[in-house]
Point group: C2
Chain length 202, copies 2
């Protein structure tokens, strides 16, 4: 009764944002209506623009406003290096490090037979076609270090057994700045198994 | 570079929601674009509808889609009882308890000389006019139990010294279901000072 219908509708819709429950949605709605109507309209416009104007890059399947995204079209990127990711969020995380100069391929998920997600849903056929074209010399499998991500990486690697390209998997190990005592056993075992010899000064 | 302009604009705009920082805004934007475009459009429409269609009730200054809100117009409410609040959120909190049958008056803030917010900004003149009309017999001052809220309540009470109406302040005390050891000293002192005699069975 104290909520007007439009306010009720706004609170309901804000609950569809990830991590937003009924209390947070109410607080957001009232904040926008009472203190910042400009923001309400700005968010409304940005959402409509993005939902209608952002599609998928034909080549890497990341988010793009054009048929082929800026990264795939960039002449300075190393076309012999291709990094396979589960989602555009991962792509952004890697781009923000500035440490990767190759191209990307976004699967949009991981293999999950229980949910009926097979290789065809992830565009793995298109990925294999691209690899068989010969331009790519190293494939970096950067799916998440979860059971499903590992399975997806192994599946892709298996499909390429008769292709002479270098296939790598991102390293598992101790996070930089972390403390050993707080690292879980699985990660620590990987960090030890994947140990690298230090270069010694001559 | 990995972010398209529309995505960048969406993330920037989502940061204007209360309690949403850059990481959360990015996660929300990507969730909506990758998994739930319907939600993006639904939120966009709900925001525009609410920002354009919700105004202020002429009588109580709470949020309303009509000139006078449902509560002020409701024939079943007790018009002799008026509760003064800082914001529509407080009104909703009280309405949700179902324990108040009177009318409300929303100030839209509290007195704050430092921020240049005086009685005229809170519609206190209009409140006094209404009280002098004589219909209201009890005024419940339910501003927040903060220094500014208390000051605002005292200011309003002082303006009414020559008017013969009952003025009350919401009780301070121990929250229901709380444990004494976790209640702060100020609240505990109020709870003791405001102790009430128990009705004893005859």
């Amino acid at each position: 009764m104290a909520l007007t219908p439009k306010l009720q509708a706004l609170i309901e819709s804000l609950r569809r944002l990830p991590g937003v429950g009924p209390k947070t949605a109410q607080r957001m709605a009232l904040h926008l209506l009472e203190r910042d109507r400009d923001a309400a309209l700005a968010i409304s416009n940005a959402l409509a623009d993005a939902a209608e104007g952002i599609g998928e890059c034909q080549q890497c399947h990341s988010l793009s406003e054009t048929a082929v995204c800026d990264i795939c079209e960039h002449p300075g990127r190393d076309r012999t290096l291709l990094c396979v990711l589960e989602s555009p969020i991962d792509l952004m995380a890697i781009e923000q490090t500035g440490g990767f100069a190759g191209l990307y391929y976004v699967l949009g998920g991981h293999l999950s037979p229980i949910d009926g997600i097979g290789p065809e849903d992830l565009g793995i056929d298109q990925l294999l076609d691209r690899l068989y074209q010969g331009e790519v010399q190293e494939l970096v499998l950067a799916t998440n270090p979860t059971v499903e991500g590992e399975a997806t990486a192994h599946y892709i690697a298996e499909q390429l057994s008769d292709l002479d390209i270098k296939i790598s998997r991102i390293a598992h190990g101790v996070p930089v700045g972390g403390e050993l005592e707080f690292v879980d056993g699985g990660t620590l075992a990987h960090a030890l198994a994947g140990r690298r010899q230090l270069e010694r000064g001559k």
